[in-house]
Amino acid sequence: MSDFKSNNKVVNWIEERLPVFSMMQHSAIEYPTPRNLNYWWNFGSLAAVMLIIMILTGLFLAMNYSSHTSLAFDSVERIMRDVNYGWLLRYLHANGASMFFILVYIHIFRGLYYGSYKAPREILWFIGIAIYLAMMATGFMGYVLPWGQMSFWGATVITNLFSAFPVVGDFIVTLLWGGFSVDNPTLNRFFALHFLLPFIIVGLVVLHVWALHTVKSNNPLGIDMKGPQDSIPFHPYYTIKDLFGIGLFLMFYLAFVFWAPNFFGEPDNYIPANPMVTPPHIVPEWYYLPFYAILRAFTFDLPLLPAKLQGVLAMFSAILILFALPWLDTSKVRSAKFRPLYRQFFWLFLANALVLGYVGGKPAEGFLVTLGQMCTAYYFAHFLIILPILGKIEKAKPLPASISQPVVKAAALIAMIMVGLAGFGGEAQANSGEGPALKKPATAFSWEGVFGQYDKAALKRGWQVFHDVCSNCHAMKLVAYRNLADIGFTADEIKAFAAEKEVPAEPNDEGVVVNRPARASDRIVAPFANDKAAQAANGGALPPDLSLMAKARVAGPYYVYSLMLGYEDAAPEGHPIPEGKFFNHYFPGNAISMPAPIMDDIVSYTDGTKATKEQVATDIVTFLNWAAEPELDARKSMGVKVMVFLGVLTALMFALKRQIWKDLH
């Protein structure tokens, strides 16, 4: 460290006053790293990259976000629709949260497998748990910010956890809320904390790396580096290996951003928060699901310990128990490679955690309750019973004398990640699939698939259906007339559509508000002045706003398509429906207030297409999907370019990595 010398006078001048260059030389270049790290050791640096991406995207999103309950939802939609590349920033951030947790979970399980928590790495492990806790708090508060239904009800449920504590519970909850329910003060403070916590995480990461560089990296064999022959300098060997990993990871991450940006999200969060109505099935984000299952596993009251308190304590304990892990695991051998019994139990523990995640994402019913309880018991038994005993009875395989060669190859890693993802995907989709199978149009919607783009003619026909039929009852307040330019209408046509409706003008010189014709810059004018007027004109039922309909339902486009075509003239036997309602196969509960909205020839298309009801349904669904995802065309075409670019870059990095590592292998 002290032997740092440079030929550059400026560098030396700075170095004598602030030794940044020797510090970088010491900790990022020369840092002696075990020569046998496998690809599971990439996930720490990947998580650091993800943290930087989250902070950057979050910063630019915050420049456009409004943390007021009356503005938050619309400000997020404005980011999606009007802010330049706002959709990209938001999808990077929203999917980035899931990616961050995937990376960190892999990083944690790598630590569990190779015994990275054992002496002398206990404090390194503690800081890691602190980072994980801070991430959970940050992720939770971030999910509240869009102020959709899941945001609101997630915030309600999670803050209510604290009410379980005796005496101080209600005080804590009121303090968190800043009121008597989750409301504007809650949203404001969550935004402030959501902005702050990532920087706390950065500070913890600095400590984490500091501790790491003090005790040095663990490795797949779990034995200490015994001399220079066991180590290689971090640069260039691990810089290029980490960069190659980043290339692979970015392709994986961006595939979601560009082609399945709402894969990890809940359709309900595209419905604005409504404190009066809880969605029928609320779930936390997937990364909390195992702990959510533990929370729900306790159903019997005990003296002094009501079930609610047991669940909350168990949930917090499930994470906090990790702090005791270095002492609960009594084995002196670190790596599971040499612990034949622990290796079995490691995989059992991982499987158990995945089952808990699955149970947490399902309604608490029937066998799943019992399964959740068994898995919860096993979760704690693993730490409190199995690990302490295992260390005493297990006969470890003989440890090698010194570190040898890398063990796991890239192909094996990729295969394992794919298997893990299939699990995550299954969980994310776990709560769909109620009700009858949805109808699909004879030919797929034009925008489906990797390269699919909107069919402009169908969009124009869909607008005609919306304009002539839907807009008599339904609003579409997030779309402006000017947006119709995207689907091929001319400026004059747009002006004419806008001028059909009136909006209140600015007060005139006498202070009287008169109406003026709507302009292209106005949002599509709603058919009713307010929700009450809309309800009064529609037999008490509020026709929902259609701006986000295609994203706000599970399998949205197919749901709407099926709903359009799912009416029966008379309710089938055994399905009585109330007066004034209509029978629809696909509407939850079957009794819908909207009469069949479309039929053959309900519009006469200006482009001469025959208006069969299937055609009309296809066109209106196309239009509604455009209204919900106007960025789709730009998103996919950017995605293709980005993927080609990343493919080239990653291939180059792979070749360079092989070249650099060639002399070691």
Partner: protein, 184 residues
């Protein structure tokens, strides 16, 4: 400490060339990619589509009497609409434009001589000059006077004295009828 690996000689000169090529190619592509990836972040700070769409303001000028001014909002900035008196037009036209700091003829700053339309933001550092209300100081040249740092504008909105470098800008506008002006 681990220098035997670090200093290991590449196996051949060919290997060295190949390694250099890969290094420069990877670094080059990586730098280009990082640069391209920064653009969406920067561009997100530019005006959004809804902001750009609000770029016209209609003004009813039928109620503005000669000698009067009104201030309207266009793109979040004040726009001065002054119904000039004949003597104000005369002094504006007579000024020897070549002597001005930002030489411009009055005729180039108007569409109809009696209507002067200006963005009411001082070109020095962005304050709103005084001169719209009858009681306001209008500076030494009868137009506008910026109280922040003492810039004087004439009856054509041209800078005549003080620190401002440019004339008050004329926004794009058109007379959509005899009594209305669309700014933007």
């Amino acid at each position: 400490m681990a220098d035997q690996a670090h200093n290991a000689q590449p196996s051949s000169v060919d290997g060295q060339t190949r390694r250099d090529f890969l290094l420069y190619a990877t670094a080059g592509v990586g730098v280009i990619g990082t640069g391209l990836a920064l653009w969406p972040f920067v561009h997100s700070m530019n005006p959004a589509a809804d902001t750009l769409a609000l770029s016209t303001t209609d003004v009813d000028i039928s109620t503005i009497k000669p000698g009067q001014s009104v201030t309207v909002v266009w793109r979040g900035k004040p726009v001065f609409v002054r119904h000039r008196l004949p003597e104000e037009i005369a002094t504006a036209e007579q000024a020897a434009s070549a002597d001005l700091r930002d030489p411009q003829k009055d005729a180039d700053r108007i569409k109809k001589p009696e209507w002067l339309i200006l963005v009411g933001v001082c070109t020095h550092l962005g304050c709103v000059p005084l001169g719209q209300k009858p009681a306001d100081p209008r500076g030494e040249f009868g137009g506008w006077f910026c109280p922040c740092h003492g810039s004087h504008y004439d009856t054509s909105g041209r800078i005549r004295k003080g620190p401002a470098p440019k004339n008050l800008p004329v926004p794009p506008y058109q007379f959509t009828s005899d009594t209305t002006v669309r700014i933007g």
